[in-house]
Assembly symmetry: C2
Homo-oligomer: 375 residues x 2
């Protein structure tokens, strides 16, 4: 069977590696970062903006698009790519994470998850089969299997039962596929924060010979060391000729650390959400544009940046727009942050090619973007 | 003295005329429409968007920029053009209209207007001299004199007293100018809805030999016939070699009717505000994107339009974005409406060149954009 996506490893430095993901909507240089377009739009930005920012792949959310406007409607409009005018690759998260976040509004059984949608108050039921049907109808390049996201901390018993169900659900996802040559299916390694259970689950998934592998159930409240420890535990058990995706991560330093542990793909709302809250990532750290000290500052957000925002506007103007609650502020800072993240990924790929020393330099540098914000 | 702006009449059909406004920031083909960038941004759009929409001149608001971020700050940042990265001509409204709208929060004396700013709660005082100083410091191409906007209806006695004061304030504005060769000063014809007083005021202003002339105090709640009647009364008394600007107008039909009566320049928030409320102007009328009938509509907003929004996205997608409260919806519909208005002005200029019949055809067609919205 021809796979919907293939992955070729490039240069390797330790566990870190460059690579090339090939899809029917084009190639992606890895390590790569996916801006998040939950509802079929990366907030405030157009596909043209994203292309100019060197974005090669987007993440959208199957659950959100299922609830509104409805996956069949998207399908009838020619699929998600056509509807949102993005002709590059798209990965959809299943929305399992969002459904599980509903807590008191959802009930999990072996069959699937019943929940009440916050959008329309209607009861809905997502099974592994529904999950695959939605994503294949959206026509995306990569679909995520339905999994149960386990909270942190959790008992061994609970993790064991939940992870076993995730595996059974994954098999049902595989069996439900109708367009495997168009939409890849990614399995998600769970196993909580128990290394032996993580490894056992990774090995189970590898035996199922999936299109690509995700590490899930992380970034759920645990310390960063725990997160990175689990990545370090799992990745050596994943195939080298398949993509490794770390879901929902993260800050630049988390990304660099995870790359060093063998991760190829990331997604996170941080660049766009930070942008809408007036926080800009710059080559010397983060900056909160609301601060009065920028009132008369004629410098761009980041003098080292060549994005449209930095080529055109001063911090003083952006602060004025932000304080005046102008939409343009959110758009311009989001754009800058997306460019920043893409540039970071490019620097990471360069560092891997250059070798261990360059990667270590970048790892140390990345700490400036996680340090507490200056007041 | 070299004037900051000059105007050359082109083709004339009845009172309607094409023309060319020359400024230090480039030329403007008239009749022209200025999108409104009150606080130094046309909401949700960049200068690049505006150029792509064929916009040649913007309107900003001196009062708003004075209150925030402050005209001296804008001046220190290199002026309004540089701050907002718009290198074409800018006209600033004085903000007199906004100050007078504050009603119980302002007090008018011969000296000027004292008011309490809604932004910071501070008391401020705007005199004709302040008004000129603000706009010259912003460095705009065209400044509006401080005038008193009279409500409708108003007694002859009140109109006479107010209009006389507007003339005295205009003289003070003229006397206060320090950069007349950089920033043109426009006088505003008042006179309420009394034709004889309108004519008398126009004649007074013409004797003052101003850079250009505006018709003010209209679109304040009166019926459209009253508005157009006043334009028809005033324009024949204005010099042919000076620009005629009708402030705050309006819907496409108002614009066409006013062009027929000799107006060269317009501004209005309608295209952008409508866009943010989900209303699109199209070649067959207006459209409210929220309506359920667009849920599965794969057509663009206007199949006859070539803007980025219409080239790229369906009504169904735009409705989805709007219903999902996505910023991108506001941006894309605003962009479309700005392009629509610029295209309308281009059609008007073509019709004037073609002759009376073409202009009459356009006049009739424009009614579809003022008819009540379909439910």
């Amino acid at each position: 069977m021809k796979r919907a996506v293939t992955f070729t490893e490039g240069v390797r430095t330790g566990q870190a590696r460059t690579g090339l993901l090939s899809t029917q909507h084009g190639e992606v240089q890895t390590p790569a970062f996916m801006p998040v377009g939950t509802k079929g739009t990366v907030k405030a930005l157009t596909p043209v903006d994203l292309r100019e920012a060197q974005v090669e792949i987007l993440l959208c959310n199957a659950y959100h698009l299922w609830v509104r406007p409805g996956h069949e409607r998207v399908g009838a409009l020619g699929g998600l790519h056509k509807m949102m005018a993005w002709d590059g690759p798209i990965l959809t998260d299943s929305g399992g994470f969002q459904v599980f976040s509903l807590k008191e509004f959802r009930k999990i059984t072996e069959e699937g998850v019943r929940f009440r949608s916050p959008v329309d108050g209607q009861y809905r039921f997502m099974s592994p089969e529904t999950c695959v049907e939605i994503q294949e109808t959206l026509g995306v390049d990569m679909a995520m299997a339905l999994d149960e996201c386990i909270e942190w901390p959790a008992s061994r018993e609970h993790v064991a039962a939940s992870t076993a169900r995730t595996t059974r659900w994954l098999q049902r996802c595989l069996d439900a596929r109708k367009r495997p040559e168009h939409t890849a299916l990614l399995g998600i390694v769970q196993g909580g924060f128990y290394p032996d259970m993580r490894i056992a689950h990774a090995q189970e998934l590898v035996e199922m010979d999936l299109d690509a592998y995700a590490v899930g159930g992380l970034s759920v409240g645990e310390p960063t060391e725990e997160l990175l420890g689990m990545v370090e535990t799992v990745v050596p058990h994943l195939p080298k000729d398949k993509l490794h995706y770390l879901m929902g991560v993260g800050y630049p330093s988390d990304i660099v650390e995870a790359v060093i542990r063998g991760i190829d793909l990331f997604d996170c709302v941080i660049p766009t959400r930070s942008g809408r809250f007036g926080y800009a990532f710059t080559s010397v750290g983060r900056l909160a544009i609301k601060h009065a000290r920028f009132s008369d500052d004629s410098e761009p957000l980041d003098p080292a940046c060549t994005c449209y925002t930095c080529r055109s506007f001063s911090r003083a103007y952006l602060r004025h727009l932000f304080q005046s609650k102008e939409i343009l502020a959110l758009r311009l800072i989001s754009l800058h942050n997306v460019v920043f993240y893409q540039s970071l990924m490019s620097q990471i790929r360069d560092a891997i090619r250059e070798g261990a020393e360059a990667l270590e330099t970048l790892r140390k540098k990345a700490e400036i973007w996680t340090a507490p914000m200056p007041e």
